[in-house]
Symmetry: C2
Subunit: 157 residues, 2 copies
């Protein structure tokens, strides 16, 4: 088991894009119960099964297993809850940290989120100029929530 500690931000400009290389992600959930989510993910040409516990503050327990690509595809196509989440994930180094920027597609088109993984809860992060409002604690931005209440369906005022 790993402990995942991360902060999440909206993205307010495209300045991060210039040399970033993206990987296509397709993922779905077998349960979106916040106490124990089970996610199937295809990242590029690799399949994963990931179990996450309840978020406590900015951290949560995580168990991840590689699974054959063909089985990940079957699980996504036949068993996972609808809709699936599609996004392209870009990795960008800024200052001391690696940032992951998710550009959502499909039912979450229009949403761009940046995540930074931390060593500990009090690890200090230097914010890049393209990082906007922090949304770490806003459950609407959890990927499990986005599969249930996609961004395109939000009342954005």
């Amino acid at each position: 088991m790993a402990i995942e500690i991360e902060r999440k931000y909206l993205v307010r400009s495209d300045k991060w894009r210039k040399e970033a290389v993206g990987t296509a992600y397709r993922q779905g959930y077998l349960t979106v119960d916040p106490e124990r989510t089970v996610r199937v993910r295809i990242a590029g040409d690799k399949g994963f099964l990931t179990i996450k516990g309840k978020t406590e503050g900015i951290s949560r327990s995580e168990f991840e297993y590689s699974i054959p690509l063909a089985e990940a595809t079957q699980l996504l196509d036949t068993l996972c809850l609808r809709p699936l989440i599609e996004k392209v994930r870009y990795k960008v180094n800024y200052s001391q940290h690696l940032w992951e920027i998710d550009v959502f597609a499909g039912v979450n088109e229009g949403l761009v989120l940046a995540e930074v993984e931390l060593e500990s809860s009090d690890d200090q992060v230097e914010l890049p100029p393209w990082a906007g409002k922090e949304v770490t604690s806003d459950p609407r931005y959890y990927n499990a929530s986005l599969s249930k209440f996609p961004y395109q369906s939000w009342d954005k005022e």
Copy 2:
């Protein structure tokens, strides 16, 4: 992915017991949604994560992955739904088939079920004398149901 095809019976005598060797099972669920159950199991000293689809007739899809014993223990102790299922599984050959006899303990104490795995839905089974009523299609006997509505809580008239 495998297709699991099985029939399940109550057990009406102890005649199968004489030379049967049992293995302790401890298992729990991350979701008991009948369309997509996710089970964590420790069988003897081995850990497994198993995803099963909806039962159609007597068959259902099944995806099983070995996971480290320590992680299976953590998942059972911290994330799985309560109560956990405890049982001892015995394997008995009878005629052309391998039977698995589950003697439940804990909250399901008193329940004994026999399962036989088949090659196809129309595979003929010769019933052992100790096999009682068939309960294949009775959802109360699904292990996922037994974790939600344990045998000890049933109104047995």
